[in-house]
Symmetry: C2
DNA sequence: TTTTTAGCATAACAAGTGTTATGAGGTTTT
DNA sequence: AAAACCTCATAACACTTGTTATGCTAAAAA
């Protein structure tokens, strides 16, 4: 087992504790116990807790980015954009766990401007990918030329984030199908096919 | 000064610390120092920290609910719904502070199912108010009869939450005008005026 | 006026925190 | 085979945490 894999094991143990117990109860000792060893392992692979947290945060955002990028294999079009945005909706237990970790981090980042800025950087990457997608759709005339793509990218991500949050904060939350439906409707609205006769 | 006001003072001091330092660094001592007194005050008005946190959480959600309800003074219509939803967008520093406290609580509630359930109850209230508004609009034929109002209420709140979050997690976030614009466009879509010829 | 209570400061408590040093045992390198 | 190193357990460190008990002062009630 490589050194890199061991770091991942620690990070994933941290995930599990965060999802189950919450970020503030995720102590070094709790992570070690989850992994079935002592804190020696944790301190060996991470200089301090801050580094561990940032690493785990990166794991979260990178996993979301990858899931989204994987959808770009399909041919350009509405479905591709839809699938890209849907890639990080909480439609199964894994992504629901990711969502919880993500939210825990966001809450933790409140009042910690440097940490929030770190996350903003990842969010900017995500926004960039979506923007490129929108630009591609605009260049093939699927989106009208007068549409503000920066605004649309933000709005689309906002909707996706809101739909994700809905899963955690609403008791009667949207089903996976409804999540997709809400996103789909919004994406459809973006297309000149539907808006050309406005 | 009444006993009730004193509790509010403590709670508001807690808010300020949370926004500035983060929830996990909001200790009893920090709150007391923010208020300019000792922990004796805090422990006198709140049995334990849990009670203080739940009280402050309630203050957050109630303030949002009130701000929204205040908009119902206007006459029924698109503008009223729009203003109700916009009432808790982070369009000024006060509401931006409320947003931070809210997010801190959400992150804190991850892994604490009872606390999350508590928040879901408040969220359900909010959803109910929006649903009533949608029903009113439907009854005056501003929304088509075949529209699923439960789904729409969730979707609308999801969009609003997402737009709010966008303010914190996106460096290039939406301006107050853009926030409103995004909501407005979505609300417009709900109206039969725009969807009748689909 | 006496007594009771509310409001608050102070201090101490046990528990849990991140961090660090030390060292043992195994693996790789030289 | 010897030296260097990686992996990890153990233990101790200085702090911070929420909570509780004690007591003082001023206001209210008797």
């Amino acid at each position: 087992m490589s050194q890199r894999d061991r770091r991942l094991e620690v990070s994933e143990a941290a995930w599990r504790v965060i999802v189950r117990e919450g970020l503030d109860r995720t102590s070094m000792r709790a992570i070690a116990q989850e992994l079935g060893c002592t804190t020696g392992v944790v301190t060996h692979y991470f200089r301090d807790k801050q580094e561990l947290i940032l690493f785990a945060l990166n794991q979260v955002t990178q996993s979301l980015l990858k899931a989204m990028q994987a959808q770009r294999a399909q041919e350009l079009g509405v479905e591709r954009l839809l699938n890209m945005v849907s890639a990080f909706l909480p439609q199964d237990v894994e992504r629901q766990a990711v969502l919880k970790v993500w939210l825990a981090f966001l809450g933790y980042a409140v009042g910690r401007d440097s940490l929030m800025a770190e996350h903003q950087q990842s969010a900017a990457q995500l926004r960039e990918v979506i923007m490129q997608e929108l630009q591609a759709l605009q260049s093939v005339k699927l989106i009208r030329d007068d549409v503000d793509l920066e605004l649309e990218a933000n709005a689309l991500l906002a909707l996706a984030n809101g739909v994700s949050l809905d899963f955690l904060i609403q008791a009667k939350h949207l089903s996976p199908e409804q999540q997709q439906q809400v996103i789909r409707r919004y994406v459809d609205e973006l297309l000149s096919i539907h808006t050309s006769y406005l």
